[in-house]
């Protein structure tokens, strides 16, 4: 038998085991922009989670003696028209905006990857059927539908905390088709890979082929596209709330807080009310996109050394 090269063995033995995930993380760490995105995102999450706990005010606490006051030591971002602390509301709004985005994406990932996976694996009629549904969803007039639903909800007097869930679910349901397409495409091309032929030749059962061979190879692209979707979900929520169709007062969300800028006086004279939430939206979405793009590069399926 061939003498194996002792050198290679030694080299490999002393090196760390590089799982594909570890490798991706190492590449990601080298990408400065992506890491910047990650840090900003982490700060945003941290502030939203911890901020309200350490703040001396609560979200609803009004101070009628101190309304519409500009930033001061007591209220670093000023107060609003009923004297609530803007900074505290900003933290709460972050919780809402981030979780609306997150849940919407979870919904979209679950629907999208299951349907995309089924379409790609079984092909034929099932594939055609699912892809036609995708086409229908993709050509749906998004905004008019939301406006209608918002109007209906106002009519039925749906309480604000439930409206938030409706928004999550709606965004999720409307954004799965893109993901389904990606997963389907991935599965289609994976099925042609020789390692799937090898699995067949080894007599591996279907269940294991799907869950152990196919799916893990799609995680990377699902994560990337979910991350980027998270950005757009947050943006969508903000736009809807800004238009008064999403999260409604008294529950704050970033988009809903910017809404105050719709009157010229606030826009000009009370920038502390709308600039901070605006910046939050901008920074978060920007950070998510930077991070997502970095992830895409780091998880490049062509695993080079």
């Amino acid at each position: 038998m061939e003498a194996k090269s002792i050198e290679d063995v030694r080299e490999l033995a002393t090196e760390d085991i590089m799982s594909p995930w570890k490798l991706a993380w190492r590449r990601l760490k080298k990408n400065k922009l992506a890491m910047l995105g990650l840090y900003i995102l982490a700060i945003m999450v941290l502030l939203s989670v911890v901020g309200p706990l350490v703040s001396p005010y609560t979200m609803e606490q009004m101070d009628l003696s101190n309304i519409q006051s500009p930033p001061s030591l007591a209220h670093p971002m000023g107060t609003d028209e009923v004297g609530r602390d803007v900074m505290t509301r900003l933290f709460y709004a972050g919780r809402i905006s981030l979780s609306v985005g997150l849940f919407a994406v979870v919904i979209s990932v679950v629907i999208g990857s299951v349907l995309g996976g089924i379409a790609g694996y079984y092909g034929g009629f099932i594939d055609s059927l699912i892809m036609r549904i995708v086409d229908i969803f993709m050509s749906f007039p998004f905004l008019p539908l939301l406006i209608t639903i918002a109007a209906v909800m106002s009519d039925w007097k749906v309480p604000p905390q439930y409206r938030m869930f409706v928004v999550m679910i709606l965004i999720g349901i409307l954004s799965w088709p893109g993901l389904a397409r990606i997963v389907r495409g991935q599965i289609l091309s994976l099925r042609e890979q020789e390692f799937m032929q090898a699995a067949e030749a080894l007599g591996i059962r279907d269940r294991r082929k799907i869950f152990r061979h196919l799916l893990p190879n799609t995680y990377a692209s699902i994560i990337v596209s979910a991350t980027l979707d998270l950005g757009s979900a947050i943006l969508t929520e903000s736009s809807l709330s800004f238009l008064g169709l999403g999260v409604t007062p008294p529950t704050p969300s970033w988009g809903q807080m910017v809404q105050v800028a719709r009157d010229l006086y606030t826009l000009q004279m009370q920038p502390w009310l709308w600039i901070p939430p605006g910046i939050c939206i901008f920074l978060t979405v920007m950070a998510i996109n930077l991070f997502g793009d970095g992830l895409r590069d780091a998880l490049d399926p062509r695993l080079k050394r």
């Binding site: 061939e2 003498a3 090269s5 050198e7 290679d8 080299e11 080298k30």
Partner: protein, 324 residues
């Protein structure tokens, strides 16, 4: 020397990759005489293509030519400006690549592409350039040349595409033709056609050829002089007969023995153990020592130089230290 067409001296081309420094070509020197076919052999990744690309300064970042001279007809190409070297590319020196599909532009017809190359370097108008293109296609043995001239690359088979590439490459009577694995992507019978064509053209045009390949058989058939590369360095060079009959470097010997020969019967192939070193973690001393059965202490410590080991035959190996 008067009969040297190209002389390369201590060429170094490095890649500054994310993972570290890759010394793709590391101190390579050689000459190509007028009318000579120089064979360059070595395994994938040993720096054959990068050497060829460096001659024409076709190295993109993160790659960089660190040092070296490439003297072509008395001019140092490395010092030329982009505009000046462009006049040499495709005219005095032209290149044929391994994968003809990627080097032909899919949206232009064969005639357009050959015609453009001709007009760029010769004083011909469109009509005459086209005539010349058809003539060139006939020279390389393409049947129906006057129809093929209006076809797109994807309409041709691999062999035909490679012929079209050759037609384009020789359309300006280059003094040096660099052929980078010109037949690797082709079938044996088509390879035989292309090699035959290249042999005839070389004799007719009298150009020099730098033939890059990993196939020792192709080298034996085509080359006059052979260079063997390993891990970015030349490890052995000699005239073709001398090299095949009297190989000196353990790597060359291993390479020759590891390929079964159709005319011989061997019981067992003599393989070289281990694998090509990782360019990011080159071994110390002689790069070949982890795989060499003759490795000595000195091999692990310092790198042998390429020296004459007998007349007209150079090798870089400590076994031959002090032989001459």
């Amino acid at each position: 020397m008067a009969d040297d067409l190209l002389a390369i001296h201590d060429l170094r081309t490095y890649f500054y990759t994310e993972d570290g420094l890759v010394k793709a070509v590391d101190g390579v020197s050689f000459k190509i005489k007028k009318g000579e076919v120089l064979g360059v052999v070595g395994e994938s990744g040993c720096g054959k293509s990068i050497t060829a690309m460096s001659i024409l300064k076709l190295i993109d970042p993160p790659g960089k030519i660190i040092s070296g001279d490439v003297i072509f007809e008395g001019i140092n190409l490395i010092e030329l400006k982009e505009d000046d070297i462009r006049k040499i590319r495709g005219a005095s020196i032209s290149v044929i690549f391994q994968e003809p599909m990627t080097s032909l532009n899919p949206v232009f017809t064969i005639g357009d592409q050959i015609g453009e190359a001709i007009m760029l370097h010769q004083d011909l108008d469109k009509v005459n350039a086209r005539k010349k293109a058809i003539e060139m296609l006939k020279t390389v043995g393409i049947p129906r040349a006057d129809e093929v001239v209006d076809e797109y690359p994807h309409e041709l088979s691999g062999g035909m595409r490679q012929r079209a590439m050759i037609a384009m490459a020789i359309s300006c009577n280059p003094k040096l033709l660099i052929a980078d694995e010109p037949t690797t992507a082709l079938d044996v019978t088509i390879q035989a056609q292309i090699l035959e064509l290249m042999r005839n053209l070389k004799n007719d045009l009298g150009s020099s050829v730098m033939l890059i390949t990993h196939d020792l058989g192709v080298v034996a058939e085509m080359a006059d002089y052979v260079i063997v590369m390993y891990a970015g360095k030349i490890v052995e060079e000699a005239e073709v007969v001398e090299l095949f009959k009297n190989a000196k470097h353990p790597y060359t010997i291993g390479l020759l023995q590891s390929k079964p020969v159709i005319m011989r019967d061997e019981d067992r192939l003599n393989s070289i153990p281990g694998q090509v070193p990782n360019p990011l973690h080159m071994p110390s001393g002689c790069y070949f020592h982890p795989r060499c059965s003759h490795a000595m202490d000195i091999c692990r410590e310092s790198q042998p130089e390429l020296k004459e080991v007998c007349e007209g035959h150079k090798a870089a190996c400590w076994l031959y230290e002090g032989v001459i």
